[in-house]
Symmetry: C2
Subunit: 217 residues, 2 copies
Amino acid sequence: MEVTAAIKDEARRQLAAEGAARLSLRAVARELGMVSSALYRYFPSRDDLLTGLIIDAYDSLGETAEAAAAEAVDATWAQRWLAVCEAVRGWALARPHEYALIYGSPVPGYSAPETTIPAASRVGLLLIDIVRDAYRQRGNAPAPLPAELEPEARRMAADLAPDLPPEVVTAMVAAWAQLYGLIGFEVFGQFNKVVEDREAFFRHAAARLAHGLMAPR
Amino acid sequence: MEVTAAIKDEARRQLAAEGAARLSLRAVARELGMVSSALYRYFPSRDDLLTGLIIDAYDSLGETAEAAAAEAVDATWAQRWLAVCEAVRGWALARPHEYALIYGSPVPGYSAPETTIPAASRVGLLLIDIVRDAYRQRGNAPAPLPAELEPEARRMAADLAPDLPPEVVTAMVAAWAQLYGLIGFEVFGQFNKVVEDREAFFRHAAARLAHGLMAPR
DNA sequence: CGATTTCGAGAGCAGTGCTCTCGCTCGAGA
DNA sequence: TCTCGAGCGAGAGCACTGCTCTCGAAATCG
């Protein structure tokens, strides 16, 4: 429908201006020249509007990351990894509030429904693909795992990438979380007065993440 | 004062139950048997209450981390690093909403005042101390930095730990952010259906972070 | 004792999410 | 062609929010 898109567009604008907690259904309706109750024809509740925005954000981020990977399809896997990392970072810096919506503190009283899962997985799946290429080219896994982690690592590998050794999958999941630590700290201002040249810092840190994924030991 | 403490206590209870965005001054006052306007004698606004809670949370986390470090004072630096990491994780898992308050998406329209800086720095300073010990014992820095990062790395080192080589300080800042990526993903539910044995996974990832801080290569 | 400060109560304003009812419009079936 | 129903928006209203203002009681200080 046309109206739902207009609502989401206006909501996104308010999101960028004010943040999720300040997103007001009435203000969206006002800006659209409707009355607030009319909005409930399209979204059963404010949370459902948020869900829509979350799915859109995941998809937009996924698209951005996939485009970056496609553009670097002829480069080495490490360069492709870096390209995706930088694309994700750039997307987050350009839309901090949307980033906060999907990777920041969850909106209280609201838990993302199952419908968000496919969109949310896109970046993760993309990273798995890159690591798979890396493993095919290099074929050496990172350090062996401690015994206590082996069952879990095997389980994760079976779930996420049965063709890769558990050490690689484990390292990949960790690198994924750590990547979001780097980006989150920057987006949420934790690097203020600590890191200044964040571009260079991020590039280096992301490259070292890649290095940790495939280097011997 | 006695009353401000009671207000913060009740607010913390509501925070744990509902989250920051749902924190209602009126509800706090109601629970305390006062009227909402009376609360403004103690906190000029809702945001100031939040600031109070944020500082308390930073201090509580800092204390927890420092206690863990103190307990492991005779262990190796790597064990001490791991002890602090696990203490931070444990604190976060026990108080997810307070963790979200300080390390999640910033509350919109609200920017933390300067007064939070000392409390916010405690864990970082603690990690620097541990890395300093590590460097004194091992004395080998991680991989050399790319040229583009050298000026920034020097600047960071001068700011944070002038007695340590820029490579170590840079690696430390990155490890710090990555640590919070690991914890944030777990606290905010991003590991749901991905990582199950999160305890073991975290221990391994945190240990590898330490390894990356000081390993030769 | 008197004056002043401190504190809580209460009313009230503007805003919020959400529900309910009521008309209008438009398109498909008889 | 007429009718009926579904879809849609308006409006009023409920319970709630943060916040301001005024007023009266209590406690503290000179």
